[in-house]
Structure formats: structure tokens, C-alpha cells
Amino acid sequence: MKNRRYLTVGGLVAAVAIFLLINTAGRPLFRFARLDLTQNKVHTLSKGTVHILETLQDPVKIQLYWSAGVAKDMTSLKLFSQRVLDLLEEYSSVAGGKLTLEVIDPEPFSEAEDDAVRYGLQGVPTGSSGETLYFGIVGFGKNGKHQVIPFLQPARESFLEFDLSRMVYSLDHPEKTKVGLLSALPLTGGSSPRNPFSMEPPWIIVDQLQRQYDLKVLPKDEEEIPDDIGVLMVVYPQGLGKRSLYAIDQFVLRGGHALVFVDPMSELMAAQGPAEGSTSGYAPNRLLGAWGVKLTPGKVVGDMAAAQRVSYQGRFRTQVIDYLPWLAVRGNMLNRNEVVTGQIDQLNLASAGSLTPTKDAGTKFVPLVQSTSQAMLLDRKQLSFPPDPKRLIADFKPAGKPFTLAARISGPATTAFPDGPPPPEKKDKARKEGQKKAKEKKQLLQSKGPINVIVIADTDLLQDRFWVTIQDFFGRRIAIPNAGNADFAINALDQLSGSSDLISIRSRGTSSRPFTLVEKIRREAERKYRAKEQELTAKLDKTERKLNELQGKRKDAESAKLTPEQQKEIDKFRQEKVDIRKDLRVVQYQLRRNIERLETMLKFINIALVPILVALGSIIVWFIRRKRNMGFPA
């Protein structure tokens, strides 16, 4: 043994000191040396962020309010705060001096805490001591304009970069795009249709739009779209009057960009009554037709490969079953080459329609969202309440081709009102002034340049329940998206309003990677057995009917006594009923069996197979050694 001089207590103490120095004080030195191994580079600043930071025009100051002292026992929040700080420091280094960062600990009763309250940060009372914890961001742009993230939610960690970049971007571009919202659905809340005395809150989507844009809600009977509107968002044009449709038509022909949500069946309206949904008689096709698009009327797209699982109260028990018209749109169903859909992970649609270009269309039709080819058109009536998901699956016949659910349309177009503007509604006197204005403006018959419109054949995707979970966080509504529906709408508005940097950052969060194989097995099994189940149920219905008939046919129906002959018949039927029910149970059991078998096999392979092989290997080695008289020592 040689050179052991350093192996002294003093040497060890020095080593500990070096270790601590490297891993505490030295940490900032290695801050940006890291390798992001994730497929989508989730932890690396995206190009959009880098571009926003590099092209900052005016200095931006970011203040991070973080109650480090109060949070000393909160390990996970501390970890998250570190992540936020790392990210902000990276921002600052990319922006090269244009972005300054300040970390403030708003201790209780300090001036900093007053500032935090003044800027509207959310304080959260913690633990037994009841101290207030702040964890938010205030950003300052030019002219002292500021933006606030009241509380940084760990649950929104995957949207962190987007939230920060959006803040920086909007500080640098304080003038927001003016978006007009013309909707026949109650997006902005208001009195409830079911109970006129209660008020409904606005949909989350409106809240999201308001954060991003200067959102102007136009009245439902708007007859003239104001000139300062940059992008017009139209929801459910079926519910709008002719004059409003005319206004939309003229707005688009004038060169205004529009995002239009049409729907062959709005679940919201359908729930209010079967007559709803075709109110004005003006089908959206009049408007769409002028742009070279057609919505297949009265038909809803059902997709076997993208159907969502729903809980369904069946005849015998509650089942979880695929509901064909509710789609979880993923993967290649979204056009990956388009900025609007390129980054979206999942889109939830409910009873969406099919869009096709018209034969004589002069416009370009680019599908953004398509169904799989395992899809068919369902009749709207089949979905009238209550729908029968089992029957839909039993009757399913794939069309073998995908249907387009959303599309981008550009090119020259003509007016949908060649016979001039529709006459004003008679009863509406208060609008006289508006009519005059409309008359003054000359009707455009042809678009001035190419039109730019995005059409989505579903309105339900905007409803909260299809894309977002709302959590109550100390009295504040926190929205946690489980699908990219809002991102989709915002991407579309962004593209139509021209800012594309933010699009590349958005929606990298909901990265669900389901077991595709299991889903495939499940769908195959389900399709195979569902038809059989349907057949058996019908048989059971028939048997029961017969049994009832037999009971009713008796002259002395009130008598509880049965003739031996009848008794025999009834017994026979009852036996049949028992048998059929048994068959049904077998069918339902088989549905689960393949998947259970797969699970058992995987468990065996992953828990036992390799150990068994290793054990066998060791026995073989042992034999060989014993032959050589070298067995394992005891």
C-alpha cells in the first residue's frame, strides 16, 4: 500500500468542504449545462420563446414574489419555485440584458408584502402559524404597464413557459388584438335558461380569450361589425338573425379574418329541447357556401377509433362504453403541418359535423382536423335524448374515409346575399339608426382580396365540461385543461391575427401517452361482442313480451292461479330468460378477458421470466463447475 498521506481526518474535512462548495455555491456555475432528453424537448426553451426574447423592443422587468421563509417546510413547492427561478434566469440570459429579474421575499408586514397585495398577487395562508405565502410574478413593460400572474400553480407546471412567454410578449406588445365575439350560445354567462333567477358564470374559454385579446362581445343581433375588430369569432351562426349573417358576410368580404364555429348539433341547445338548433331556418350553409364550404346537414361524425369512454346507465348495470359522437382527437387526426394544430396534443369534440369543399369552390380548403377512416356519419336523430351508445356501436359501419371536422379556408369569395341585404326585422325599432348606417355602406358582392376563415364543425368543444377541470383554490377558480380546446381556439385566433411566436410554445403540457395496444384490443373486442349483445338483448325483450302476452291472454287474468299448461310455458320462457342473461354475462366477461390476459402475461414476463432464466443460468453454471470439481462453496 502506498500514498495514503491524504487519508487523514484533516483530508476528509477538506474533502467535505470541497463537496459542499461544489454543490451549493458552485451550482450557479453549471446552471445551463443540461441535456434535455425528452422527445418534445419539454424542458428546453422553445423557438417561439427564444424569438420573443431576442426581439424584445423595450426593457422588461420581472419581479418574482416568493415567500421563501414561509415555505421552508413545503418541499414540493420549493422544488417548483426553483424550477421557476431557473427558467426565469434562462429567460434573462437569452434576452441579453433586455429582461431583468428581481426575486423578492415579501416577509410578513414588510413593504414588499404591501406591494404584493397592491399588484394583486394572491396570498395563501399556510400551516398553523397562519403566515401568508406569496408565489407570483409581476412583469413591468414600458410606461410602467404591468401584468400579473397572481399565483404560480404547480399543477400548471407544464404551461409555465407559455404563461411566462405570454406575459413577456404582451408586455412588449401592449396593444392587444381586438377580437369580436358574436355568439348565439351563452358564452358570456348571464341568466340560466333553466332557471331565470340564477346567473351562470362565463365559460372558461371567454376568460382565456380576455387574457389574450381585447375581447369585444357583440350583441346577438349585431348588424354591423365595427371596423376596429381585427378578428371575428362567430359561434353557432344558426342561432343568429339574417342581418347578423349579412354583417359577417360583409366583414369577411371586406378582408376581415373570421373564426367560425358551426355545428350540426349543439349538445347545449339540444339539451334544452329537440326543437332548438334549427331555429332561424338559416342553415350555416348559406354563409359557408359562399366561402366554398359545405356542412353536411343533420349528420354527426361518429368515430370508432377516437370515441371517448363514457359511463352509461345500461339495461342491467352502469357500463363504461365508447360513445361514438364524442371524439378525443389525437395524433395524426390533427394536421401536423399547420401552426394551429401542429402542437395540440388532444382535442375533445362532441357531436361534430363533416365539412367538405363545394364543387365550384374558388377557395383553398385545408383540413385542420380530420376523423380517422374508422368513422361514419350518424343521423342527428339517433342522438336525440337519451342516446343509446350500444346501438350506435352495433349499427356502426365505417365509411372507410376520414371526415374533415375543421378547415382553414382562403382565397377569393363572393357574397352569400346576391339579392342584396336582407330586410330589417320589423319589430325592431330601436335599431333604426343602425339600419341607416347599413344602408349607407355599399354591399360588397366580391371579396376585396383573398378571404381568411377557419371553420370548425363543432361548438361544444368550447363548453367547459369538454376540456377543462375547474379547481377551487382558496376561492379562486383555477382552470386545469385536460385537452387543448382553448389552445386550439387561441391558436386559430393568433394565426388569423398574425402573431405566430406564441403558437410554437403552447400546449406542450397535456402529454398523455396511453397504452395504444390495450385500447386497440379493447375496441376490437368491444366491436365483436357488442353486436352479439345487441342481438341477445333483443331476444330477451321478445321473450319478456311473450311472457307478458301469455299473462294477459288469460281470461281470469286477476287469478293468481295458473293452468298447468300455462305454467309450463312460463317456466320454459323463464328458463330461456335465465339462459340469455347468463349468455350476456359471458359476453360482458369476455370483453374484459383479453385485456386481463395481457396484463397477467406482462406481469409474468416482467416479474418472473428473467429471474427464472437467471436461476436456470446459475444452475447450469453450478453443474459445469461441479463437473470441474469447483462447486459453490457452502
Binding site: 454543490n23 432528453l37 436461476a615
Partner: protein
């Protein structure tokens, strides 16, 4: 280097000439598999990633690494073969490192033999293989950290059971040091800055970052310096007992 390699080979041969290596690998595989499928709910969770697999590694190593590390020096001391090593023309660091690397290789082999789970998840869905690769790297680095602690305690005693128990306690402290339970223990008698620092020196924080798919130089440096420090301490302990 050559001399270290010969120590390494001697150690590896001793693993495989006894049932020890096989038993260790089998226990490791059975436990990881069982934990992944039963405690981690791998299948009902329905997500094509290896999170339920890696989540349990810190807790598995808590017992498996000391089980492997306890014999590193304690056995040599008990059987007296440590005298033999001392007479060899190798430096103390080479001897310590060679033995440590052999034990680390055992864990690497065991970890490598979990490949069916990687194949499984790729058949079931489309996982992010970059994150999985990072998870394996992180797991191996963390196993090294556990082992280095065990090697140190093994050098302190000639009784393997004692070495095992102390190692588990030592590893447990570093596993939990980011948790309030350990911080509360230190808080009354240490300044809060030191407590904060102790918290950031725990395993979990660094392991978590790596399993998210980020190979951060800071985390890698942490694990490597951690291993180096405990190996140095181990060398010191071996040297001390000899004197």
C-alpha cells in the same frame, strides 16, 4: 488503473463464484417487477411511461445497496483477507474504487436485466424513450450514491449485519433529507441556512429532476462528488482499521 482492474476482476469473480450474484439479481428483478405492477399500478394506470417503475427505486436501493455493500470490507476484515489486500502493490483509492465499481456493476447488470419492462412499455404504447433513458441513468447514479455510503460503513466494522443496519440508516437519512421530518430534526440546533443546505443535498431532489428527462450537469456532479466523498471516507476507514 491496471491494478484497480485486477481488484475489480477479483471482486466480480467472487460474486459469480458464489450464488450471491444470482440471488441478488433475482431479488432485485422480482422486487422491481412486483413494485411496478402492484404498488405502482403500472397496468391500470394505462400510461406508456416508466414512472411507476422508477418511483420505487430510491426505496429499493435503500435495502438492496446496503445488502450488496455490507460485505465489501466487513467480510475482508472478518476473514482476514484484508491483510492480503494491504500487501498488494495497489493504492488505497484503487482498492476502494475497484471494489466499489464491482458492486456498482452488479447493480448495473440487475438494472440492465429489467429491459423487458422497457420492451413492454414500447409494445403497449409510444413512450418517451429519452425520459426512460434518463431514468436509467439517474437510477444508476443514485444506486452508486447508496453503495458508496454502504461501502464506508462496511469498512467501519467487521460485522456485516451491523454494517447493513447502519448503512440503511445512513442511506435513509440522505433519502429523506429533503423531507420535513429530517429538517425538523436538525432545525433546533442548526442555523436555518445549514438546514436548507442539508435539504438540497438529499437524493430525491436530484433523482426526480433526472427522471423527468433532464440530465442536468448539477445533478450529475452532485452524485459523482457524493460518491467520491464517501469512497474517500471509506478509504480512510479501511486505512484507519489497519493502523
Amino acid at each position: 488503473m491496471k491494478r484497480m482492474a485486477s481488484i475489480y476482476r477479483r471482486e466480480m469473480a467472487s460474486y459469480f463464484s458464489t450464488p450471491l450474484a444470482y440471488v441478488f439479481v433475482i431479488i432485485f428483478l422480482v422486487l422491481t417487477g412486483t413494485f411496478t405492477f402492484y404498488l405502482g399500478g403500472f397496468f391500470p394506470r394505462g400510461q406508456a411511461d416508466l414512472q411507476p417503475f422508477f418511483t420505487w427505486h430510491p426505496w429499493l436501493y435503500l435495502f438492496l445497496a446496503p445488502a450488496l455493500g455490507m460485505r465489501l470490507w466487513a467480510e475482508e476484515r472478518k476473514t482476514g483477507t484484508i491483510e492480503l489486500i494491504m500487501t498488494l502493490p495497489v493504492s488505497m483509492m484503487e482498492a476502494v474504487l475497484g471494489k466499489f465499481l464491482a458492486a456498482w456493476s452488479m447493480i448495473a447488470i440487475s438494472l440492465g436485466l429489467t429491459f423487458p419492462i422497457w420492451i413492454t412499455v414500447n409494445i403497449l404504447g409510444r413512450p418517451d424513450n429519452g425520459v426512460i433513458a434518463a431514468g436509467y441513468v439517474g437510477s444508476l447514479l443514485m444506486a452508486g450514491a447508496y453503495l458508496s455510503i454502504s461501502a464506508f460503513f462496511s469498512a467501519l466494522t467487521r460485522n456485516q449485519v451491523i454494517a447493513f443496519v447502519i448503512s440503511v440508516v445512513g442511506c435513509f437519512a440522505f433519502l429523506l433529507s429533503g423531507f420535513p421530518i429530517v429538517q425538523d430534526f436538525f432545525r433546533p440546533w442548526l442555523p436555518s441556512a445549514v438546514v436548507e443546505m442539508l435539504g438540497s443535498l438529499g437524493f430525491l431532489q436530484h433523482f426526480d429532476t433526472i427522471t423527468k428527462g433532464i440530465l442536468d450537469l448539477r445533478d450529475i456532479i452532485y452524485f459523482l462528488t457524493f460518491i467520491a466523498l464517501w469512497l474517500l471516507a471509506g478509504a480512510w476507514a479501511v486505512d484507519r482499521c489497519k493502523n
